[in-house]
Symmetry: C2
Subunit: 394 residues, 2 copies
């Protein structure tokens, strides 16, 4: 069943399979916390970083991703850290607190994770609604095991439209727990069925890397104590939003504000520069008063102003424009269904569509500055504008 | 020449006219600070509050406004404070530091202020470019006195388009100082000509009331020491922006960001509510991460979330939608002239145009929440939407 152990020569070898069995699964006195192994499905740019924080906090992981390179990358790094042979990596974890990392094991499908004895909680961090449907409802998905599933709580960190989130929550609630293999029921939750928490995040890759994500959580509030310590291993804030789908709604609304603020700040900084005001001065003006935002303070779109922001690293390694465009589309769709006017979100969705068309889709969403600063009022001025941009930001 | 003294029975009566003459005008050792009387032209909602802070800091004012009721209001309050008979007022200053208020005198025109011996600095705080042209260049304007003007520094706090600001700065520089009546020249500035600083503000009426405005200042930097203590009597931050017009450019760019952030935050809060997420929860989500801004933290558009914000007081007493629309128009015009694409500013300008058309123009600009929350996706749903709004915010 094991695709690959963390490292044959690592302390994993000292653990007989039974060691992680039922006896150890509930470390706390109350059955309000799932302990034991943690499942993690989806090791993309976000999930990989989040999983590492769980490992670094000492949790043992069962992981799956359709991309076996991502899986191998995590397993190799985890093994290297555990054997003390870590040297360097593209995503170094030298900033994590010291201590013993957990063990990572890779399985062949989400279904295999869901039927592994000892798994208490499974996280999913996927690319969107389609992937989420596949991972939860597919023939090898988390809900596929015929005899019921072992984890009592599933936590979906994917950004979804609220209807999909509600549908998945209903499907999970309708599934059965394999009570022979699962741990004790959680206080306040039915013994026979698992539950799904939506836990979409804000903070992007930078937050995932630093372990400073903000989790928005909705669903069965009784399940929160079982997972909060895991969320806090990956993030700094956990905000309870309400029923299934509500956290996703809040997540999309946050994206609307974040993207509009980014676009407005970027075009204002670009205009200021064209009117003769240095972006550093303009940033000071914004931050001194009513133009202040997370964007202007922590994620400035002009290269060199926020050293740790993607804009200062060639717009690499952040929240991609394509993702923002996808999330805005979900938000606008949700708005249409609820007859809510969102003219700003429509405008910024259109703008990010243009940014993607210009070939900046894989860059961080702050690269909208490059788009508005590089281009003049007319589309055809883009080329000369880009030359201007490159000349001013060598 | 005096229209009306502060109060005939006030301590003003104890001051013979000569007491405020030349000998007292320069209190500091270096001639880098204009002291003496301070002129103040424009006692609208902003100017009135700003002038009171100058009085409260002990400065003697020469004031002018075309609306004699505004002038009388200031003079009456100043006299009442000085004689200790102040009881209450629509704009109470009980929150100001104690101490002796300065004396306010009203003159008949800006020109009379500019030719009064003892006036070192004149502030203007006007409704826009047209009023600024009138007050500076009109036949009874600040530059009208034939023998030159007494103040060496004029400070325009009006929000202007950068070209008008640059033109006025040029006209002031081309005017003459009445060297017989003016104080000693300021270090680093020509002895024969006055200078104009642009000092537009952010912070709105709330900031003007509390004395927490942010001043953006441009022009002759050598003139800044002469006025900085006066700016700091009215605000908490003074940011140097550069040449004449640059502060106005920065001011307009700040408005673009402020208005877009407000509109995006308002529509996101409205959408969240329609999707079942309470605005308080949504505000917590925004403030916990990448949706955070001055709007969400200090000026929330949903009634009751920020107690001191205009939204919690019927959207009264803030920055009017009509003003925001005017400033956005100036920003978009400046952007067009510099071939700068500002799609977000265009969208928000259009939105505030609609808000004004709906009759909300005189309300605070946070009332865009009321517009998007009150109206559905289609314009004709406004009426029922307003009923919904009123039912939820009794």
């Amino acid at each position: 069943m094991l695709l690959r152990a963390a490292a044959a020569a690592s302390p994993l070898a000292a653990l007989a399979p039974g060691t992680l069995g039922y006896g150890l699964r509930y470390a706390t006195t109350a059955a309000s916390t799932c302990s034991g192994k943690v499942g993690f499905v989806g090791l993309g740019a976000m999930g990989l970083r989040m999983a590492k924080h769980l490992l670094a906090a000492g949790h043992n992981l069962l992981v799956y991703d359709s991309n076996h390179l991502a899986v191998e990358s995590l397993l190799e790094e985890a093994a290297a850290v555990r054997t003390g042979s870590e040297t360097s990596s593209s995503c170094s974890f030298s900033h994590l607190p010291g201590g013993r990392w957990g063990i990572a094991e890779a399985l062949r499908s989400p279904a295999e994770i869901a039927e592994t004895p000892g798994v208490g909680v499974v996280f999913t961090m996927l690319s969107g609604p389609d992937a989420a449907r596949r991972v939860y409802l597919g023939s090898k998905g988390l809900l596929a095991p015929q005899g019921g599933i072992v984890p009592r709580v599933l936590v979906d960190c994917t950004t979804l439209d609220p209807p999909t989130a509600r549908e998945l929550a209903g499907r999970v609630r309708a599934a059965a727990v394999n009570v022979d293999k699962a741990g004790a029921p959680l206080q306040g939750l039915p013994a026979q069925s698992p539950t799904l928490l939506d836990a979409p995040v804000t903070g992007g890759i930078v937050g995932a890397d630093a372990g400073t994500l903000s989790f928005l959580v909705g669903g069965d509030e009784a399940a929160l104590p079982a997972v909060e310590h895991l969320l806090r291993a990956m993030g700094t804030s956990v905000t309870w939003c309400g029923d299934p789908g509500d956290a996703q709604a809040a997540r999309l609304c946050n994206t609307m504000v974040q993207a509009a603020t980014m676009a407005a700040t970027a075009e204002a900084l670009a205009l200021a520069r064209r009117l003769g005001v240095d972006p550093r001065v303009m940033t000071k003006v914004l931050n001194s008063g009513s133009g202040r935002s997370w964007v202007s303070q922590e994620y400035n779109p002009v290269p060199g102003i926020t050293p740790q922001a993607p804009s200062s690293r060639g717009y690499r390694g952040g929240l991609r424009c394509t993702q923002v465009a996808d999330h805005l589309k979900m938000a606008v769709t949700a708005a249409e269904k609820s007859y809510s006017p969102v003219p700003m979100a429509r405008q910024v969705m259109q703008l990010y569509g243009q940014v993607c068309e210009e070939g900046l889709g894989d860059l961080d969403f702050a690269s909208v500055y490059r788009y508005v600063y590089g281009s003049g009022a007319a589309h055809h001025e883009w080329a000369s504008g880009e030359a201007l941009f490159n000349a001013q930001h060598p």
